[in-house]
Amino acid sequence: MTSYKLARRSFLRACGGSAALMLPLLRSMEARAQGIPAPKRLLILHHSQGSPIDLWRPAATATTTTFTLPANSAPFAPLQSKMVMIDGLNIVTDSLQTTGISGGQNTSEGGMVALMTGAPTLGRIGQQDHCAGGPSIDQILLDRSPLLGGALSSSPTKTPFGSLQLAADIRSSRDEVAPRVMSYRSPTGNADISRARQPLYPETAPLDTFKRVFAGPLPPGTDPSVALARELSVVDFMRGDLARLRNLAPSSERNRIDAHADAIRQLESTIRMALAAIPSVCTSPAAPPTFPTTTGRQSFAGESTNLSGVDYFDPADPNNHPHQVLGQTYLALIKTAFLCDLARVVTFSWSSGTSWVSFPTTFDGATLSPGIASLSSPHYPPLSSMSADAQGWWAAIDRFYAQQSSLAIQNMAAATDVDGNSLLDNTVVVYVTEVSRRWDHDQRNMPLLVFGGKNTGLKGGTFLKIADGPLPTQTGLTGNRPFNDFWLALAPAFGVTLSALGSAKQFTGPLSGLLR
């Protein structure tokens, strides 16, 4: 059996000059050896187009601690003791553009931006491309929380990659940015709102992410320590040149240069990851496969996208479900990235808010009638049909996402973290969507689940019914609260106090009952 001291020596020797950057891994090993607390992590996991409320929310007789999950939330039942279900939150959009723009209320596009930033938009481009007017909550927490070790923070616990933005599919109607991006940095002051917003575009190819995060390219047949020195000299040259540009450029380029500097820092992390031996606590996953990609202009029912994506339904191989495999591959990479302490904040989306993922006309027992299918499917989900078969078909797809997401979270629960506890004991997973009701994009009573084990402070096994707010419910009563109240309540789980988020109408105060 290898002793910890021996492992530490061999690890540092393998790291060579990169020992400083490998400290997160070293800390992981030491944490395991010494029983010190593991880091906290945050995963915000998005699925699109809401969930049918009657199949999602427990019956009216449910109590805070005694509740049964209906069909579409039932896949999460194995996690119920580590889960808080919240009902009674409304997405409230707002906009700095005052000419009658709401910031996209009751749209998937506006919903994505409001959900993640909680802030008024800068305005809208084209039909529904709402421009984020603030940083997203994951970046806010990353920057402010010493527990999350942000790349830009001065925290000594910062991780090699800070945060990851990943998606199984990003195709969006009219190629709009709003529905396909979850994370944003703070906007710039550019008068052109399309340039002022600062989206952190998600990666969509697991193999590329794997190479970037776990194993950068290593020149064959080269001594790793020699290769490391050479590659780092290239990085130093890049960094020095950027510093020169920073001195010459006006302040309007500062955000761009900051982002570039962070990119160089992450590239250095990639190089060091590739050229240093990684201890067993952080076993590099197998290289993911590539997936059959739908490319080129796709159009239907007056909508179109030019973005590429991977469909659930592969006509050439009906038994193959690449969308599902791709999503699970990413979720497995996220789990390993957490265990390796390469990043503590991740956003993952199954699809854009205006999903273009193709599903078969008959899916999990639900079949679209030919009339409905001719309007939108078999390739793409029907836009706003209220017909029973369309609703049933979409409910089946919603259930699919619940099943797949639950499976991934269960895998986190089964993984052993560096402190010997379950990875989920140290991880908060927020399962979100951008509208509550698919057919009209209503944003009242947003479906929301939060998962986290014993070290997260979450009150697991809770059904939190909100009734003390000023906003309307889906049934026309009042009692709901703005969605931002949830983020305000969650922030303390990461050692952050947020007293406000968004405009005055977008929050009332932190929810009670979420954390112990």
């Binding site: 809208r124 084209g126 006006p250 240069i257 179109s304 030019n306 973005l307």
Partner: protein, 640 residues
């Protein structure tokens, strides 16, 4: 005579400058033009109006007082000669003299471009590395989130961690390809030490890679890369292979450095901010002008001629810039690049991605009904059409694009579109006149364009209308689009049994969008309704009803309220009113400087239009007008 006057006289003598050069920006009341092309005003054509717009000099960087051109109903006002503006940022001279009587319509000002970094797009990165290193092919380039967007939006491309890692992989692949040639690229002289050779290489290759001269500190930094392979005070390499490896590593460092990844538009490096932290306004350096021209016209890094012109100081003068621009415009590569810009402006680059229903391709035998093959044919036809019009000898006018009555076709296209094919092959494309029964209007009805903006089955009146609205007439933005996902909107959208009747429902619905968007868009689309989704002429629609291709345009249209009988009369109006030419100026201006004109009546664009209207109307003149303008070269200093 001032240096400026000498230059203008020389240009006029060379026949390169249009009839007059005028002050860049003026108000009809004769107020002084602002520095860097500030707000101006256009004289409206009111009854008895005297003064029109103060126009820009045809290509001049600065100019004398302007003569109004747009006023109607009265004589154009003679401008008062402005004092010479000393450079683009100018101290622009006094404005042209204003007349009286016409109403004054303010044009929208356009702020000067603040000094900036402009990231290379992936394709530009590929071209630049190819040209720098004489690569036969470029290794795979990273896909970016903005790859599908037009250049204007793509200029927002962030160099984030994902993209930089992609470039790192590409650079690694390039280094592998270049490795065997590294010694040859360094071209060490006899007796030259490794260090001396490497230093010389860093200076010369760095000059080309960074598109400017490197200072000693940068050379030293590059040598730090070299010495990781060949260490020691003398940086002497143990073997020739080590030397090659070290050179190769330097190349990799250069093509990953920010100075390579960004076009810098920062002005002189000696620029310093004042005590308040404000940098003075400036102009692009000669190296930056070379870079601007190179990426605009060659899609790549400056060629040897541009480098030499920058080094010699030629690009510091209007004549020198014009000379280099004319040289580039004569190159097939530049012509192809401009043609590609036009293609992208008009959205035809999307054609290759658009599949079509087999029924639309029924004139062809089944093996020939592959949409990808037809789309590729159409792109060739389109490119040949543009090239024949814009770059022939002598070149045609930009507006000739709307009047051409021939189409380049191979046998496949001839069969599909009912052209006399004869003994044609599928390999060669010949110019064929459209049959008399098919009323066509140049590129407006070119099948490639129609194919690109149509759905797989439907002609898509709205998309076609939007194309004409945005890209053919450059009407002002309609404001935010409606929410089409409301039950009320869906009810309107789903009313009707054909595209025409659905369009009728949209037009009849007053509340679909607040800005009457479909009242603006649909009429344009209806003008093209006699062409199906593949671009084939038809007389009845999908419901079997006769097609009426006439349309009534609203007052919002740059053509004004009018009824057009179909695409031919519409195209004729576009030509006679200069609306299409003006739109070409606007869209290519935006693509050149990566700045969006807020509306059609934007001051610097108006000035360029006025200048272009007095030129010979060719694409070369249009490019000259834009790229040699003050606006394109001037930069606001910004703050520290």
């Amino acid at each position: 005579m001032s240096r400026y006057r000498v230059e203008i006289v020389a240009l006029l003598a060379a026949g390169l400058l249009a009839a007059c050069s005028r002050h860049p920006v003026q108000r009809s009341t004769g107020t002084a033009g602002s520095a860097v092309g500030g707000a101006g005003a256009r004289g409206g054509g009111g009854a008895g109006g005297v003064v029109g717009s103060g126009g820009a000099g045809a290509i001049g960087a600065t100019g004398s007082g302007g003569a109004g051109t747009l006023g109607s109903g009265g004589a154009a006002g003679a401008g008062i000669a402005g004092t010479s503006g000393g450079g683009a940022l100018g101290t622009a001279g006094n404005g042209g003299g204003g007349g009286t009587g016409g109403s004054t319509v303010a044009c929208a000002p356009l702020s000067p471009i603040t000094r900036r970094l402009w990231p290379l797009l992936p394709a530009q990165y590929g071209n630049a590395t190819r040209d720098l290193l004489s690569l036969a092919t470029v290794p795979p380039l990273p896909v970016t989130p903005t790859s599908t967007l037009p250049p204007l939006a793509a200029s927002t491309l962030p160099i984030d961690a994902t993209y930089l890692f992609g470039l790192y992989q590409t650079a690694g692949a390039i280094a592998t390809v270049v490795a065997p040639r590294a010694n040859a690229l360094a071209a060490c002289g006899a007796g030259e030490t490794d260090a001396a050779c490497a230093t010389r290489f860093a200076r010369s290759f760095g000059r080309r890679a960074f598109r400017r001269a490197l200072d000693d500190g940068e050379i030293s930094a590059a040598m730090n890369v070299f010495t990781t392979v060949c260490p020691g005070p003398s940086a002497s390499c143990a073997t020739a292979a080590d030397f090659a490896t070290a050179i190769n590593l330097m190349i990799k460092a250069f093509i990953l450095a920010p100075s390579f990844l960004y076009r810098t538009e920062l002005g002189p490096r000696t620029l310093t901010a004042n005590a308040a932290g404000v940098y003075p306004d400036t102009t692009l350096t000669a190296d930056e002008v070379a870079t601007q021209l190179a990426f605009l016209l060659l899609g790549s890094t400056p060629d040897a001629g541009l480098m030499a012109a920058a080094d010699s100081g030629a690009l510091d003068t209007p004549a020198g810039r014009l000379s280099e621009l004319n040289r580039l415009l004569a190159l097939p590569a530049a012509q192809a690049n401009v043609t590609a810009m036009v293609t992208q402006w008009l959205g035809v680059d999307r054609a290759a991605d658009n599949v079509k229903a087999p029924a639309l391709l029924s004139p062809l035998a089944a093996p020939d009904q592959d949409p990808a093959v037809i789309a590729a044919d159409l792109r060739v036809s389109w490119d040949r059409t543009l090239t024949a019009t814009l770059w022939s000898s002598p070149p045609g006018k930009v507006t000739d694009l709307l009047t051409a009555q021939t189409v380049f076709a191979n046998r496949r296209l001839a069969t599909l579109y009912g052209l006399p094919g004869g003994t044609m092959s599928n390999v060669t494309f010949d110019p064929i006149a459209w049959p008399a029964g098919q009323p066509r209007a140049g590129i407006l009805t070119h099948p490639a364009l129609l194919w690109a903006v149509s759905d797989p089955v439907n002609a898509n009146i709205v998309e076609r209308g939007k194309l004409i609205h945005d890209a053919i007439v450059c009407a002002d933005p309609l404001g935010p689009d409606p929410d089409l996902n409301t039950p009320e909107a869906r009810a309107v959208i789903q009313t009707g049994d054909s595209e025409a009747t659905r369009s009728d429902a949209r037009l009849a619905s007053g509340n679909l969008c607040a800005t009457n968007c479909h009242g603006e868009l649909d009429p344009y689309g209806r003008l093209l309704h006699a062409f199906d989704a593949a671009g084939n002429y038809r007389t009845v629609d999908e419901a079997g009803r006769p097609i009426d291709a006439s349309a009534m345009l609203t007052a919002h249209s740059p053509l004004g309220p009018m009824t057009s009988s179909g695409p031919v009369s519409f195209a004729s109006a576009l030509v006679s009113t200069n609306v299409f030419a003006g739109c070409a100026v606007q869209r290519l201006f935006e693509a050149t400087v990566a700045v969006r004109a807020p509306n059609r009546d934007t001051c610097p664009v108006n000035d360029l239009r006025a200048g272009f209207n007095q030129s010979d109307g060719t694409m070369a003149s249009l490019i000259r007008q834009i790229t040699l303008s003050d606006y394109a070269r001037a930069r606001a200093g910004g703050t520290r």
